[in-house]
Symmetry: C2
Amino acid sequence: MRPDKPHRRRRAADIVQMPWQQLVNPLPPTPLISEDEVEAIHRAALQLLETVGVRCAFGEARALLAHAGASVDEADQRIRIGRDIVEEALKTVRAEIRLTPRNPERAVRLGGRHLTTAAVLGPPNCTDLVRGRRSGSLADLGELLKLTQAFNIVQMNGWPVEPLDVEVRFRHLAATRAMLTLTDKVPYVFCQSRQRIEDVLTMCAIARGETLEEFGDRPGVFSIINTNTPLTYDVPMTVGVMDMARHGQPVLLTPFIMAGASTPATIAGAMALNTAEVLFGVVLSQLVRPGAPVLYGCAAMNVDMKTGAPAYGLADMQRCTLIGGQMARRYRMPMRSSNFSSANIPDFASGYESANACFAAAAAGAHLLMHAAGWVEGGLCTSYEKFVLDCEIVQSLAQTLVPPRIDADTLALTEIAEVGPGGHFFGTPRTISTFETAFYRPLVSATQNYGAWLEAGGKSAAERATAIWQEALNHYAEPDIDPSTVEALDAFVARRTEQGGAPLD
Amino acid sequence: MRPDKPHRRRRAADIVQMPWQQLVNPLPPTPLISEDEVEAIHRAALQLLETVGVRCAFGEARALLAHAGASVDEADQRIRIGRDIVEEALKTVRAEIRLTPRNPERAVRLGGRHLTTAAVLGPPNCTDLVRGRRSGSLADLGELLKLTQAFNIVQMNGWPVEPLDVEVRFRHLAATRAMLTLTDKVPYVFCQSRQRIEDVLTMCAIARGETLEEFGDRPGVFSIINTNTPLTYDVPMTVGVMDMARHGQPVLLTPFIMAGASTPATIAGAMALNTAEVLFGVVLSQLVRPGAPVLYGCAAMNVDMKTGAPAYGLADMQRCTLIGGQMARRYRMPMRSSNFSSANIPDFASGYESANACFAAAAAGAHLLMHAAGWVEGGLCTSYEKFVLDCEIVQSLAQTLVPPRIDADTLALTEIAEVGPGGHFFGTPRTISTFETAFYRPLVSATQNYGAWLEAGGKSAAERATAIWQEALNHYAEPDIDPSTVEALDAFVARRTEQGGAPLD
């Protein structure tokens, strides 16, 4: 608490939004393919692991897998894993993971019927309609972390822009300090090197008032592992899987599947490779620490044959998402999906692509929606306006998924009888008393008629979103944090800075 | 065929789109509420019909229902229907309806696992980015009918703009002539008066080379009945239900539900009224002609408490859609949903609202998606650009719903083994040979990177859509029609015009 700055503690009262909550997805997951076909993909993945194998550049991993019975060819770094090893590893994966950040009220569950969201992750650029497009800076990161904190529907941190103005070897320290102080939501860890992972986990432990060892007993962060499809694990990603497992923290095993480029030009081949690479990570993580939390990641899509670019958010990606959900259920693993889109600006295509991606995630029974808010330009840029607009999409989805109460009170037969044929319900006690709460109140969507809308400036949804992120920043309230925790974080950052930070390996 | 105008027969070859097909929805329908709650809504609807009743201004309907055992209060035109009468009527409703227009290849099925689409219906205005917003004219109607014909994903006609430059009493004649010659898809009939219905059905019969009596043996058109919620059937709508049934043609019974305005401010109350009013129409239609085709329409939504306007396309509408699907399945009736949106222009909100509405329709197991293409301004305007953009949404949905082939060929294990870890699939025989067909090819969505997109003009999706409708109009090919059919239509229009047309009653 900083009693000398009372205005900063004010809630963003002017933005009407849903309260913080763990979202529940009541939809029965939608299968796109048959159970037999799920098994066919599973068997194909096993066969790929057994016969083609995975090339892994990290010797420690090869040694561990060889010890576990895998066939390792050191000449070309190829590891072939028998299905018995895979089946053994699958026995210890967890169906549900609870992540607890420094504020236990922001804990989230990945699994069951829950749907959890995280902000956009990784763009080097950011843009807004006031200041234009630019390379990301620490100041931009700070603002986007404030938006992450301000919108309840964003439940975990992403890495909403890369602070390119901070020297690489110190960047993880500065960014993590910002994340841990400006938000109290689950932090993200970039798996870029062993030292960086340890630095960031140590900071996250400090934020929870724990030692690094204590931190490992209770998951509190997460990281994405993007394998180099086809069938390649590079050093940073392999270290990531192993070190996160060692520290008891979850990774989202998400192969970079572009059917027609990194996999055969078929959905089946794409999902076979996706599954094989996920299973490789599962084996590795469970060998390091049985029960280590891992997610079945599915960001599979096709390459656009016209541009050679990934077709983020287009129809075939949604098909992969639905199948990915089926595969994750096959393994009783939590499933990660994404709010992807190819659009460069928050226009109609951006809206429909993102909405489809989010609805497909829900239909797939995904447990984690990555890049839930802010993603444009296929992930190369974060849009402040898109951040707000995506919050609208995800909030709407959350509202859609709430089964309404159906009972004598809500069926309201007496009220209907009293109003009678041809009457209206504007003035009934129920309508008046539930004026503000009965229905979804949009952030940006508007029902003004054309004339009123034109008179109000004729603004597009993206243009209207500008005022909302500005308001969110103006009313941003820093979350409570013990001053001694901040001191401890600063001391750690100072010491590690003095030691030279952590250059990329 | 008009051999003197060969260029007009050319297909719109430059627009890459899905072929004409009957869409199949493989998704298991998504229940939002329990079976018990479905029954609770059903019982509430029966109770409303029994105790509150429906006010119906059409004496002929009151007489028919009185004869069937309903309790009729002529003083306030109230009809109370016992549940036995409702249950009896439900026995004869059809679970599936086949609609056959003049070109039998454009026949569609409403029911089962099929999803059928129709263009936007009813807006008095239209707009495009080249010529701006304007009152609808016969020329605009002609263009929008050409777009309806050009895009395969639009399977039936709507009434894509009202030709306000044609005198009211002749308007149905001019519009129907345009619809029957510029398209060969299922035509729409506006139920505005007994005479108009007969005029239009007669023209549709002529187009099929049939008498009006023959036409009644095989459904070939459709109409929407919007009841005046709560519990009121006016004369045109009641005539519509009765006359369409008499002629064996289907109506979409779609109450105008705005929770908080025309119904209590609860989803439960809204769906109870929706169901009661649909069931009233079911009873009436089945009394006129047992087996008459009818659809369970659900366009239920809330009123935006801030503007007093319907919240088209927002979250609570999607919830109603999911429950509407459950009610329709309860009655084994085909279900009608809509691609609704509140947005005034095709911006981000327009995109996400429409995508959500379409995905919700699919999840609800809807059989007919009305207003599938073109709707803006809450239905008061048709946007040419939105027409194209909506085609993209519906095409994408259709592609998403196609279960991919999963077999030894598509799993492609040999291809993967040959490429090996770290390789790429750009040059494999499969990738090369399926270059154009492997994945969804978007109409408007683009995967260009930011630089290339900027260089290409930095156009929004809506701006890019302009070129596509222009191209569709330029390449429009008039569907085949026998010259004698056109003559017969013209003769009919001439005769009815000479007779003074059909003024609104």
